[in-house]
């Protein structure tokens, strides 16, 4: 069986804007988009540039737009597409070359919400947690930083300063963690004009998340936390 991939090519040294290029690849039921890209790079055109690493939806490197939808190349199979398949770099990010996006905005937003445990207790002992405490944040803790949710989010597309789904989900994940004491440091970011209130609950981020994190729910739970923080702030001396 053969399929045609229409791939967005962009060479910053030669092109002013991306252009499509057709490649026909052999495939069977187990061929993923990433397999097809590797075939093209190894057999047809060694100049094709794209990111990949684990091939098992863990590293989050191979995010691309497949027929206009953000997908992980390794988790998307050619068998699920009848006609030609269009593969482009992730939307809303700048394209560096071919399918390689500049993720630095995303990384800056991640950094801004301090997505790590902040605990002032420095005694060398484990911070114990009950299964109930774990369940509060566990579903938001599997983010692989693939950036697909940013490509699905029109609010991020319209305003790149918006912290976006993954960063706000991680902020909520750590705020809900019983071992964490950093909520006061994160709330100014969440309350700000580019924080949780920039989300209009389009919800597509949750649909495209390869780890089913439901970032839209996390961001909007962040609105409840932000409103509570505001009310508490009024009564606090």
């Amino acid at each position: 069986m053969q399929k045609t991939l229409v791939i967005q090519r962009y060479n910053p040294e030669q092109d002013h804007k991306p252009h499509p290029q057709h490649f026909t690849v052999p495939c069977d039921d187990s061929t993923s988009v990433l397999d097809a890209l590797l075939y093209i790079q190894q057999q047809l055109d060694p100049t094709l540039a794209f990111r990949w690493s684990c091939r098992m939806a863990i590293c989050g490197s191979c995010g691309v737009m497949v027929n206009g939808i953000p997908k992980l190349g390794c988790k998307t199979f050619l068998r699920d597409y009848k006609d030609d398949i269009t593969v482009e770099a992730l939307a809303h990010f700048a394209t560096e070359k071919d399918l390689i996006s500049d993720m630095s905005v995303f990384l800056t937003h991640l950094q801004a919400v301090k997505p790590y445990l902040i605990n002032h207790d420095t005694r060398p002992q484990p911070h114990q947690q009950t299964p109930k405490q774990l369940a509060k944040y566990a579903k938001f803790s599997n983010c692989i930083n693939c950036g697909l949710c940013y490509s699905a989010c029109p609010q991020f597309g319209l305003n790149p300063a918006f912290l976006g789904p993954a960063a706000l989900t991680l902020a909520q994940r750590y705020n809900l963690d019983s071992r964490d004491q950093g909520k006061a440091q994160r709330m100014p970011q969440l309350n700000g004009k580019n924080g949780v209130w920039g989300c209009t609950f389009v919800g597509f981020c949750s649909d495209v998340c390869p780890k089913q994190l439901d970032p839209a729910a996390a961001v909007n739970q962040g609105k409840v936390a932000s409103a509570a923080d505001f009310v508490i702030g009024i009564f606090k001396p």
């Binding site: 962009y10 910053p12 040294e13 092109d15 002013h16 804007k17 991306p18 206009g68 939808i69 939307a91 809303h92 700048a94 394209t95 560096e96 500049d102 029109p154 597309g157 319209l158 209009t200 609950f201 389009v202 919800g203 597509f204 649909d207 439901d214 839209a216 729910a217 909007n220 739970q221 609105k223 409840v224």
Partner: protein, 129 residues
């Protein structure tokens, strides 16, 4: 030593105004947001009604006649169904924002609440209570 070659910057595409037409998911989102438009018309009707009521008997009768015209009834029917659609989307999203109880229970509870309030209003305005 040769000069390094001038390299263009990374390509940044811009989101066009018709971004929401490109995917069914975005279109459903815009439909949800657009339910506010017929609701604005209905609110305008209500405010005009209040103004007519305190203005004069004739203006109240004129308002009643206006409300009975087919296109106004049509638009208000559209408002009713648009509000029901918006309520459906809101009730389904709510359990994800405040996950207190199982989602189906919360959705059923919200519909039950809406039905109860509608019934109470119908009974009150219908003169039964």
């Amino acid at each position: 030593m040769s000069e390094p070659r001038q390299v263009n910057r990374a390509y940044q595409s811009q989101l066009r105004r018709n971004w929401w037409l490109k995917h069914g998911y975005y279109q459903r989102y815009m439909l949800r947001e657009a339910t506010v438009l017929p609701l604005l018309f209905f609110c305008g009707c209500l405010l005009t009604g209040l103004y007519s009521l305190q203005h004069s008997e004739q203006s109240w009768l004129n308002w009643l006649a206006f409300m009975a015209t087919p296109w106004v009834i049509g638009l208000n029917l559209l408002t009713f169904f648009a509000s029901l659609f918006h309520a459906k989307t809101f009730f389904e999203l709510f359990p994800r924002v405040l996950p207190i109880l199982p989602a189906p229970l919360m959705i059923a509870g919200q519909w039950l609440g809406t039905l109860s309030v509608a019934l109470l209003l119908a009974l009150l305005l219908g003169g039964v209570l």
